[in-house]
């Protein structure tokens, strides 16, 4: 098991680098960041050139990628302590040829947690992500805690009542909720429950306050109801379909018939013997579920104006705040890799038939 986890972690390394290359390529394609960084009237072209040389935007792209990935504090550094760079590898000491060395590199690269500074908020991009994470986690966890058990339960009941009305209705609803556009479903819920019935708030995480803080979750549950329903409806539909199919597979297995033959009640066989084994395929759905919760949150948080990672990343995209966009993208990708890894490990833990060696 341990060896398997290590092997899977090693396999994740090339994928992580693939993600960084892709993200970097997309960011580079978006154009020169100097224009965004030096948006200040009265700046001379010489000053702009100096900033460009310091940022290294004219370097060949492998160097730029390396700088973004691993930083440049080791590319050009000051060994004497006088504040002037005196050593350089990979990049020239004097990049713009004005006879003076460029200042020592001060970036540490994303591998060491330096995702750059947000263009719009002038703060480290990682701080912005970390600050917004709790709001997203509280939505995702709530959606997960609601969606997974409910989906599994509906799947089990549908399988037990195979071919009866509950089965048919739940199957139709499952297809319908897979086809419904998330954003429109959210709009409809808002229209009905917030505008027509005035039962629930129309958005936000809590009442607006001066210091932008929110009370504990228990005092603002009404704000979470609609976003959590929107986020979890997809997983309820998905899980109920997987669970129903898996349950129907298992119910006709020999050991379930044996259990019945031994004289166990129907209920006992379904819960103790069938449902437990039917849960195995659910484990594989947990990885994609994590991705879904993270990416579904962009739309949901935007509609409900819920200040989490999704809303932040959407705002960053519209403002072309690339450091923040990159931070969020890489965070989401790493979370996805971990999600898939976890679901593989869980698969192995739950199903004793799977051997890792």
């Amino acid at each position: 098991m341990f060896r398997y986890i290590v092997r899977r972690l090693i396999q994740a390394i090339p994928i992580f680098f693939g993600i960084t290359i892709l993200s970097f390529a997309l960011m580079s394609a978006s154009g020169n960041p100097v224009a965004a960084l030096t948006f200040r009237p009265g700046m001379t072209p010489e000053e702009r050139d100096r900033i460009a040389a310091r940022l290294g935007v004219n370097d060949p792209w492998p160097i730029q990628y390396l700088r973004w990935l691993a930083g440049d504090d080791w590319m050009r550094w000051d060994s004497t302590g006088d504040g002037i760079a005196d050593h350089a590898i990979l990049v020239p000491l004097d990049a713009n040829g004005d006879g003076e060395p460029e200042p020592p590199g001060d970036r540490r690269g994303i591998l060491r947690g330096d995702f750059g500074t947000s263009f719009t908020k002038k703060r480290p991009a990682l701080d912005i992500l970390v600050e917004r994470l709790p709001a997203t986690l509280e939505l995702s966890i709530a959606a997960f805690l609601l969606g997974t058990p409910l989906g599994i339960l509906i799947g089990i009941i549908a399988a037990i009542n195979h071919g009866k009305w509950f089965d048919n209705v739940s199957r139709i609803l499952a297809v319908a909720f897979t086809a419904i556009p998330t954003f429109w479903f959210a709009i409809m819920l808002l229209l009905i429950f917030s505008v027509q019935l005035r039962l629930l708030p129309i958005g936000d995480r809590c009442k607006t306050s001066l210091d932008d803080s929110c009370p504990p979750v228990t005092e603002r549950l009404q704000y979470m109801v609609l976003p959590v329903i929107v986020l979890s409806i997809g997983s309820i539909a998905g899980y109920s379909r997987v669970m129903r199919a898996s349950m129907l597979d298992v119910i006709s297995a020999d050991y379930v018939r044996t259990a019945r033959a031994k004289g166990l009640t129907r209920r006992m066989t379904w819960i103790r013997h069938a449902a437990r084994n039917a849960l195995i395929p659910i484990a594989t759905a947990l990885g994609p579920e994590l991705t879904f919760l993270l990416s579904g949150a962009v739309v949901t948080e935007t509609i409900f104006n819920y200040p989490g990672v999704g809303l932040t990343s959407f705002a960053a995209v519209t403002q072309r705040d690339y450091p923040v966009v990159m931070t969020v993208t890489i965070y989401a990708a790493v979370a996805t890799i971990i999600g898939y890894l976890l679901s593989d490990i869980m698969y192995g833990l739950i199903d004793p038939r799977i051997r890792f060696d």
Partner: protein
């Protein structure tokens, strides 16, 4: 154990032939099965009607989609004389915009789905058939692309490009092809070990011939499923991005961007929040149903 005599075996075969009906082609059988599948037929009918209506928008639509009503430059409720479904906040005829918007949404869904499937078929067949290093590299590319939640990829790329429908189709196709590749690759991996493929290989068929003439037709039921649900999924993706205003930009209408400001008109014009979303929902639902129906109809494994 006594071997059956040759003559007996032949006689058995002849009897079988006589009792069996004339053998049916894949398409004929699929057609026969579909004729009994009323749900799929209904869904197919809805999609055909919607497609014809929207593609004929320039003939059917009573107004120009970007022209505002010269008298009433404001939101009119459905049922207003001259505007069956009312107008939007700028006084543009809502029915007209629905038809033109559907034209763009459906056209994007159809063409992007064909493009993704074409990429998926070529990459899936080659990596599944050749295996080895080609397959390893392809796997790496797919896993990398799939590791970034697609909404982030779409948001990233959408900001880079001009928001014309053509570039939009290219973008969502370049991001969305991995599903098709996975599907076709999986099927190819299974089929390439089958006797008839080994036999074709032994007879000297070229890899190209084996891939496209022997393996591809056997994945037909999956191709139809992938195509129909692909169109649905891409319509959802387009409408989501256009709704978020990073897809197709106004004044060009799509079913998605017509909902962008809907929340501002909840009380004055609920029709602006309901109708186009309902159309997306119905369209995608029908496409999913068609996908399932076609897969069942074209599945060579199932018997009636």
């Amino acid at each position: 154990m006594a071997q059956p005599r040759v003559s007996n075996v032949i006689q058995l075969d002849i009897e079988l032939l006589l009792t069996q009906r004339r053998s049916e082609s894949l398409w004929a059988r699929a057609g026969r099965r579909l004729r009994k599948d009323y749900l799929t037929l209904l869904a197919l009918g809805v999609i055909i009607v919607l497609t014809v209506l929207t593609m004929g928008a320039s003939v059917i639509a009573p107004y120009d989609p970007e022209d505002t009503d010269p008298v009433n430059r404001r939101l009119l409720p459905p049922g207003t004389p001259g505007h069956i479904l009312g107008t939007d906040d700028l006084g543009r005829d809502y029915l007209t915009r629905l038809l033109y918007g559907g034209q763009i949404s459906l056209a994007i869904g159809y063409s992007a789905a064909f493009l993704t499937l074409a990429i998926g078929v070529v990459t899936g067949l080659t990596s599944g058939y050749y295996g080895g290093q080609i397959d390893d590299i392809m796997n790496w590319v797919i896993t990398t692309l799939d590791s970034i939640p697609s909404i982030y990829l779409l948001l990233l790329v959408a900001t880079l490009l001009q928001r014309s429908p053509t570039s939009f189709i290219l973008v969502i196709s370049l991001i969305g092809w991995t599903g098709g590749t996975r599907l076709i690759r999986g099927q190819t991996l299974q089929l390439r070990e089958r006797e008839y493929v080994v036999c074709a290989k032994a007879m000297g068929a070229s890899p190209w011939r084996i891939m496209f003439l022997h393996i591809l037709p056997n994945t037909l039921s999956f191709l139809f499923l992938a195509l129909a649900s692909g169109i649905g999924g891409l319509i959802l993706a387009e409408s989501t991005l256009s709704f978020l205003q990073v897809g197709i930009q106004p004044p060009t209408p799509t079913w998605g961007n017509m909902l962008s400001n809907a929340d501002q008109f909840f009380t004055r014009g609920p029709h602006m929040a309901t109708i186009s979303g309902l159309l997306i929902f119905v369209t995608v639902l029908c496409l999913f149903i068609i996908g399932d129906g076609l897969r069942d109809a074209f599945d060579p494994q199932t018997t009636d």
